[in-house]
């Protein structure tokens, strides 16, 4: 697994271009090509009540997207990155998944709408994408607003890779996320490893799990150091989502990496998954490896 080619779907919302620019940090991780994608939602042009299809409107939206993409392509070319673009009509998530497969990209970068305080960072389409993607997905938040102790503040994520946090539950997907870390050998200076032991466990089980986790993390950390990373590890007790969010901020990390277990749609809807909830609530970019 390497990050040579990324898929960047966009709705041309505010800060989309800034997000794309920030992603160029991945060039150090091997990035060679960006596939740009804009999906015109069918509702924007089709099924006009008792009318039909707005062909001219589709052409207009295509022209707007084409002009923007051509501008972005010039920028990418100047930075030494190859690019191509698709403008499609349909439902966004299936189209994104289809293009990701057809173009065989290594990573899907999904942006988010500008978030107001107290709103969740990602919507239902993004959750759908996270649940269904067979490719790693980077939920990239260029700028976030939040409220803490009654005060609104803004976070700008200009730096992506310098300090990475890998939250692991030692599952197979976490193993894959660990292996994915190797892609960041160039740009990443430091890697923090974290395992959260659930506070719901009884004391003997909790101590046993904590000590086993420490041993495993130590092993992981040594492997990373052998590969040239600076690494540290922590085992925390508490609720996984809250602990991961807290540690990611306290240790000033730039991005959170996690594996996803690919829960079914209904299970995910009712129970949520730790990785998706971290992606939902974190200020930082979150990279989920299926």
């Amino acid at each position: 697994m390497a990050i040579h080619k990324i898929l960047f779907p966009t709705k041309f919302r505010e800060l989309s271009f800034d997000a794309l620019s920030a992603l160029l940090e991945l060039k150090e991780a091997g990035l060679e090509e960006v596939v740009l994608l804009h999906v015109i939602e069918r509702e924007q042009v089709g099924f006009v009540p008792y009318g039909g299809y707005l062909k001219e409107e589709e052409e207009r939206l295509r022209d707007i997207a084409r002009l923007k993409f051509e501008e972005w392509q010039q920028f990418l070319e100047r930075k030494g990155i190859k690019s191509k673009f698709h403008i499609l009509v349909g439902n966004p998530v299936p189209k994104i998944l289809a293009v990701a497969e057809e173009d065989n990209v290594d990573l899907i970068v999904a942006g988010r709408k500008k978030r107001q305080a107290l709103e969740r960072y990602i919507g239902s389409s993004m959750l759908d994408l996270l649940q269904r993607s067979k490719k790693p997905v980077l939920v990239f938040k260029y700028m976030c607003y939040d409220i803490e102790k009654g005060r609104e503040f803004c976070v700008v994520n200009q730096q992506l890779c310098e300090h990475l946090l890998l939250a692991t539950d030692f599952s197979e997907s976490s193993e894959r996320a660990f292996r994915f870390l190797e892609n960041f050998k160039g740009p990443a200076k430091k890697i923090t490893l974290l395992h959260v032991v659930s506070e719901d466990l009884g004391k003997p089980a909790l101590e046993k799990e904590a000590s086993e986790a420490k041993a495993k993390l130590s092993e992981f950390s040594q492997k990373l150091q052998q590969k040239g990373f600076t690494s540290q590890y922590y085992v925390h007790i508490g609720k996984p989502v809250q602990e991961i969010l807290k540690i990611s901020q306290e240790y000033e990390t730039n991005m959170v990496l996690m594996g996803t277990t690919g829960k079914g749609r209904w299970r995910a809807l009712w129970l949520g998954s730790v990785s998706q909830r971290v992606a939902e609530f974190s200020h930082l970019p979150v990279l989920l490896v299926p």
Partner: protein, 475 residues
């Protein structure tokens, strides 16, 4: 014994009070119907003209603001009616929404959802025989899964089958004629106007038995014309299919069970009598509530059981059904004064119209022409009410409908056939017409303009067939 007598007399008092209230309510409604001026139908005309004209002249505005336009016409109907007629006005709107609108939307939603979960995959090769057969099958199933459901199921494979053909616009037009309209003539599930008739007491299989000859005649004529045209263009083009052939397959086939459940629940509600409940002063039968609940259950089960990928392969979206729900909320509200005037018969403001409508062919053509340009559901309802008002003025609807069926059935046949068949005359005659147009244009099959469709196809093909129907069945 004393206690028993008290209970019985109490019950008697309750019944008498109920009857008196109902009678008062009825007479209030009749008074309102007789006093309503003709101009109170302006909002109804306004919303129907909006549906007809905005998509033509301001499609982008309409696409983004149709909900507001619909709400506008509804509000300017409701507020004056409530201000002038107070309780009677409120009762009328509640009656329209609880008794007609919600069951209507629930049925459409159920059929749309379940049909959207069936995906017909694979490649047909669009030869004249295959295409004619395809249209015949679509026409045949439309009465049992709704014209919208049948159209959504069959249009994409039909377009794929004919992608290699040069002339394919006429094929989609015939698809609209047959699958989106004429095919729905045989059951209340087939086409929304017939469901409105069913809600008002027309038995489920009445249309099946009574409209079958008309429908077979029209389908026979239109399919024969189609076959000749397709054969002509097929030979002229000399096109040869070169693509890759994928075997045919049906994903989500088990949704036919849910469709059967929906049809069964509609039939059930027409056969079983379980009593009534009062919802906000509106009487609804228990069997109709069971039917609505069951349709919702079928839709939910269909959504839960069918993999999302099936809907995605169908390019399924909720948008069209949402549009229909918003627009019809406005139509049903704006229609209220119009229906009341027609119910008043020759005592109401539409007396001259009532007197002029004498023969079945008047009803066939009047319902038909209006159904061509206005949605056929409100048009059917308007003329259905008008026939009841004309022939059985003042008779309550539950008694008037069986009388119409037994004494003047040809008038209801004319209204039913007119509403269903003429919906094919324009893009705005019936909801699936515009959905099929949209899907075809998106898939790269050019479609004629609004007037092009009428002049080139409806006027030259359908109108002569309808003249023959008039001469054979309604003269």
């Amino acid at each position: 014994m004393k206690k028993k007598a008290m209970v019985l007399s109490g019950l008697l008092v309750m019944v008498l009070v109920g009857v008196a209230f109902a009678a008062e309510e009825k007479s209030e409604l009749m008074k309102m119907a007789e006093s309503l001026p003709l101009w109170s139908t302006i909002p109804f005309a306004g919303i129907l003209l909006s549906i007809a004209l905005f998509p033509l002249f301001a499609p982008r505005f309409w696409h983004h603001h149709f909900g507001k336009v619909s709400a506008f016409w509804a509000i300017i109907t409701i507020i004056p009616m409530l201000a002038v007629y107070k309780h009677a006005g409120l009762h009328e709107f509640l009656h329209i929404f609880i008794g007609d609108y919600f069951p209507f939307i629930i049925l459409l939603w159920g059929l749309f959802t379940v049909a959207g979960n069936i995906y017909l995959k694979g490649t047909l090769v669009g030869t004249p025989w295959i295409n004619t057969g395809w249209l015949a099958v679509g026409t045949g199933i439309a009465s049992w899964m709704g014209t919208t459901g049948a159209a959504m199921l069959m249009i994409r494979p039909f377009l794929r089958a004919n992608r290699y053909r040069k002339y394919r616009t006429f094929m989609v037009v015939f698809f609209i004629f047959l699958v989106c309209n004429i095919g729905g003539a045989l059951t209340p599930v087939g086409d929304p106007p017939l469901f409105i008739g069913f809600l008002h007491g027309v038995p489920f299989f009445w249309v099946t038995l009574k409209i079958l000859p008309h429908m077979l005649f029209v389908v026979g004529c239109v399919l024969a014309i189609y076959f000749v045209m397709d054969l002509y263009y097929y030979k002229k083009e000399g096109a040869v299919f070169t693509g890759e052939k994928e075997p045919l397959g049906l994903e989500g086939w088990y949704n036919f069970i849910f469709l059967a459940g929906i049809v069964g629940s509609v039939i059930f509600s027409g056969i079983v009598k379980l009593g009534e409940v009062n919802i906000l002063g509106v009487h609804r039968t228990i069997e109709s509530l069971i039917r609505d609940g069951f349709i919702i259950l079928m839709g939910i089960l269909s959504l839960v059981i069918t993999p999302r990928e099936v809907r995605e392969a169908n390019e399924f979206t909720w948008f069209p059904i949402k549009e229909v729900a918003y627009l019809f909320a406005g139509i049903f509200a704006a229609m209220a004064p119009c229906l009341l005037i027609l119910e008043a018969g020759e005592k109401g403001a539409a007396a001259p119209l009532m007197r002029a409508m004498e023969h079945p062919y008047h009803y066939f053509w009047a319902t038909g022409i209006l159904s061509s340009f206005l949605d056929n559901t409100p048009t059917y309802y308007t003329f259905f009410t008008s026939a009841l008002g004309k022939f059985f003025t003042g008779v309550p609807e539950p008694q008037a409908v069986p009388m119409l069926l037994s004494q003047k059935p040809i008038f209801l046949k004319a209204i039913s056939a007119g509403a269903v068949f003429f919906g094919a005359n324009t893009y705005i005659g019936n909801a699936p017409n515009f959905m099929v147009r949209s899907i075809s244009e998106e898939a790269g099959t050019p479609m004629p303009s609004f007037f092009g469709y009428m002049l080139k196809y409806s006027c030259t093909i359908l109108i002569p067939v309808f003249i023959l129907v008039t001469l054979i069945f309604f003269h």
